[in-house]
Symmetry: C2
Subunit: 407 residues, 2 copies
C-alpha cells in the first residue's frame, strides 16, 4: 500500500466542513488518480488544534479560515516548511499575493487558489495553465454571486433593493453584513487576483476602482428592459493605452451578450485575446460543497504532479433506451376532431402535450407541438400510429427538445 496523502485543514466553517466530508467521500477516486489515499491529519479551528503540530503531520495544507490574520502567518509558515498550500482566501491573495507567491517560489512548492475566485468555475487554472502564454487583452465578468442574485430578483420581481437584499439574506445568498458584496469590494479583490494572473503584473487592491449596486432602483431596471438591457455588476480588467485598467461597476448588457443570461447566484468570466477570440465560463459562484470541490481539485493537482494520463477506472455499460421531450410537426386535413384524435394516440402511449401551435393552410392545417419527456420508444410508437391516420397529409417530422425552461 502506498503512503497516504496527509492533509492539514485550517478552518472548519461551511466550506471547511464540506471539504472534510468531500475528502472522505471521494478518497477512492483521489487514490485512483494520484496513487495516494487522502486523509485529514488535523483540523485547526478557532478554539481547537495546534498549527505547528498539524503542519508537521501534513503533506499538504488547506487554508479555509478566511480573513488575513492568522491565515497569512499560517500560509507563509506552511510554504516556508516546504508544504504546498491550497487556499480559498481571496482577501489574503489580493492583499498579500506578492509575498505569498515569492515565498512559494523560494520554497519551490505549489500555492493553489482556484476557489478564491468565481467559486467552482476553474478560471484560475485556465488563465494560469491554458492561457499562460496567451497575450490576454481583457478578463471580465460577474464575480460576485450575491449581487447577481439581487439584480436578477429586482429585475424579475420589480421589488426594491432593500426588500430583495433581505430575501437574499434569508436564502443564504447574502451575509448578515453584506457590505463587502454589495459595495463591490469583494468583486474588486477578485479582479485584482485575475488581473495579476492574466497580465503577469503586480496589482494592489487600491488600483481597482469599484462601485456597488446600493443605489440601483427598480425603475432603472424596468426602463432598461424596454431597451433590451439587463443589469450586472461587472468586473473588468483590460489592457489600455500601454497599461491596464481594473474596475468594478454596475453595467447594462444587451440581450445576446454572453453574460446577459447569467442569472441568480451564478458567476461568469470571459477571457479575450487575439489568438483565442473569447472564451466564456460560467457556474455557481459560491456554496459550501461547490467551493470545497474546487479546493479538492487543487489538492488533487498537487498530489498528481504532472498531468494525469487518462486511465480507465470503471466499466460502464452503454444504455440506449432513453426518454426525451419532442417537437412534432404534422400536416393534417383541417377538419373537426383531428387534434383530439392525435392527443388520444399520444395519451394512450403515455405521452403528454406541453404546447401546440395550429395554423390553417387552405383545406389543410399544420399542427406543431412540443410533448413532455417520455420514453423514446413510446413516442415513436405513437408517431407511427399517427402516421397511419387518414387525415394525415405528409409523414410526421420530429426533433428532440430539452424541456427545462431556465429564467
Amino acid at each position: 500500500m502506498s503512503e497516504p496523502a496527509r492533509i492539514g485543514l485550517l478552518g472548519r466553517g461551511t466550506v471547511g466542513g464540506a471539504f472534510a466530508k468531500l475528502v472522505e467521500e471521494r478518497a477512492g477516486a483521489v487514490e485512483s488518480v494520484t496513487g495516494r489515499r487522502p486523509e485529514l491529519t488535523g483540523v485547526l479551528t478557532r478554539s481547537d488544534g495546534d498549527f505547528e503540530q498539524i503542519l508537521s503531520a501534513s503533506d499538504v495544507v488547506v487554508e479555509l479560515m478566511g480573513g488575513t490574520d492568522p491565515a497569512r502567518d499560517h500560509v507563509l509558515g506552511a510554504l516556508r516548511a516546504g508544504k504546498p498550500v491550497v487556499t480559498a482566501n481571496k482577501q489574503l491573495l489580493a492583499q498579500h499575493g506578492e509575498e505569498l507567491f515569492a515565498t512559494a517560489r523560494e520554497a519551490g512548492v505549489q500555492l493553489r487558489f482556484e476557489a478564491a475566485v468565481a467559486g467552482v468555475i476553474p478560471i484560475i487554472r485556465v488563465i494560469q495553465e491554458s492561457f499562460g502564454v496567451t497575450e490576454v487583452a481583457k478578463v471580465f465578468g460577474i464575480v460576485n454571486g450575491t449581487t447577481n442574485f439581487i439584480l436578477s430578483e429586482m429585475a424579475s420581481s420589480g421589488a426594491a433593493y432593500e426588500d430583495v437584499l433581505r430575501r437574499a439574506q434569508e436564502l443564504g445568498y447574502a451575509e448578515a453584513d453584506p457590505t463587502e458584496d454589495v459595495n463591490g469590494a469583494d468583486a474588486a479583490a477578485k479582479m485584482a487576483i485575475l488581473a495579476r494572473l492574466a497580465f503577469h503584473t503586480q496589482v494592489t487592491l487600491d488600483e481597482v476602482d469599484y462601485e456597488g449596486i446600493e443605489s440601483i432602483r427598480p425603475d432603472d431596471l424596468a426602463y432598461a428592459k424596454e431597451l433590451g438591457l439587463s443589469l450586472k455588476l461587472l468586473g473588468v480588467a483590460e489592457r489600455r493605452d500601454g497599461g491596464i485598467s481594473i474596475r468594478v461597476f454596475p453595467c447594462f448588457l444587451y440581450r445576446g451578450h454572453p453574460l446577459a443570461p447569467v442569472e441568480g447566484p451564478f458567476n461568469a468570466v470571459m477571457v479575450e485575446a487575439p489568438e483565442i477570440t473569447e472564451v466564456t465560463m460560467s457556474g455557481p459562484g459560491a456554496g459550501g460543497v461547490q467551493t470545497a470541490s474546487a479546493v479538492l481539485g487543487d489538492v488533487v493537482s498537487i498530489l498528481s504532479g504532472d498531468a494525469p494520463v487518462h486511465e480507465v477506472r470503471a466499466d460502464l455499460p452503454v444504455v440506449r433506451d432513453v426518454t426525451s421531450s419532442f417537437y412534432l410537426h404534422l400536416e393534417v386535413a383541417d377538419e373537426p376532431g383531428v387534434l383530439a384524435q392525435i392527443a388520444r394516440v399520444l395519451g394512450e402511449k403515455g405521452v403528454s402535450v406541453k404546447s401546440v401551435v395550429q395554423r390553417g393552410l387552405g383545406d389543410d392545417a399544420r399542427l406543431v407541438m412540443v410533448v413532455h419527456e417520455a420514453p423514446e420508444d413510446s413516442f415513436i410508437g405513437a408517431v407511427q400510429e399517427i402516421s397511419r391516420l387518414d387525415f394525415l397529409r405528409s409523414p410526421p417530422r420530429y426533433i428532440r427538445v430539452i424541456e427545462e425552461e431556465f429564467v
Copy 2:
C-alpha cells in the same frame, strides 16, 4: 542560458502553419513561464522530412497531420521513445485512445490533446484536472462549429439547408466534403473522447449513436421560434441506469438555456455533477490560430511540469481614463424642446445618442436613453451641465452599458 525546448512538428496544414508562427511569436512568454525557449527542430510534411530524424532531435512531438495513418504510428513511436506528445487529432483519439493512453502510461510520458475537442475551450484540461475526482453526471454541448453555424444561419435567414451549407463553404466554416460534420460523425468522435474522460470508462466509437442536421427544414425552425425554441446539434454523454448513454442529435432548446445563445461557429460544453451543480464553457470551435493556441497551451504544460507559481513578468501602469457607453435616466418637465436641448448638450461634448424611451407622467416626463461610447469625462461633464437645466425635475442618474449587440 538554459537548454531550448525542441519541438518536432508533424504536419504543416492550416493549424500546423499557425502553430509554427505562434511558437515564434510567443517564444519569450514560453521561456519566462517554463524556463526554456521553444524552437522547432523539424517539420514533417507529406513530401518532406524524416520522422525518425525529427523524433531524435525533439523533446516534445506535436502531431497536427490529421487522419489515423501514419499519425497513429508516429504518435506511438514518439511515446515509446519517451517523448511527450501533443495532438489535435480527434479521430486518432476516438479510434485508438486506449492504445495511445496505455503506451503513454507505460512510457511514463504525457499525452495531451486539448485542441481535439471544442477548439480553444479548455474542456479537456478542466474535465481531467479540475474535475478529475468529481462524480460527473453529464457532459453535453455543441461540439461542432460547422453545424452550429448552419443552424444559426437557417434560423436567422429562413434559407434552406443546401443554400446555407454553400455559404458556410464559401466562408471556410464547412469543408468541401462536409459529410462528417453535417451527419454528426465528427461530434460523435468528440463525445466519445469526452465521455471516456468524464466517466473514466472505455468508450468505442460504435457506442455513440448519432444523427445529423441534413433533414432539418427552414419551417421547423420558423415554427419552433414561435414556441420560443432554437435548434442546436447536441452531443450528450450521461450516466443513466447504472451505465452511460452517448448520443448526438439535433435538439431544440428554450430561450434561457445556457446553450441557447451560442450562435455561429462557436462551441459550448456543460458539465453537471452534484458537487459542482453545472459549469458551462464556450468559445470558438475551430480556426487555425485558435486551435494552435490550444496546442501551445499543452506544450507549455508539458514543459512546466508542476503548475507554475505565479510570477510577475511585466510592470504595467494602471490607466484610469476610459470610455464607456451609458444609460441615462432624466425626469424633466413635459414641454417642447427639452429633448433637443439635452441632445445639444450631449452633442457639444461629443456624446451621441443611440436610443431613447420617453414617457409622460402628468406635467412631467421621463426620458431614458442609451448613449454611444465616449470618454467618461465628457459624458459626466455633459450630465453636470444637463443637471443645471431648469426643466430638470430630479438629479440625473446614469449606469454604464456594454454597447455590443450580439446576435
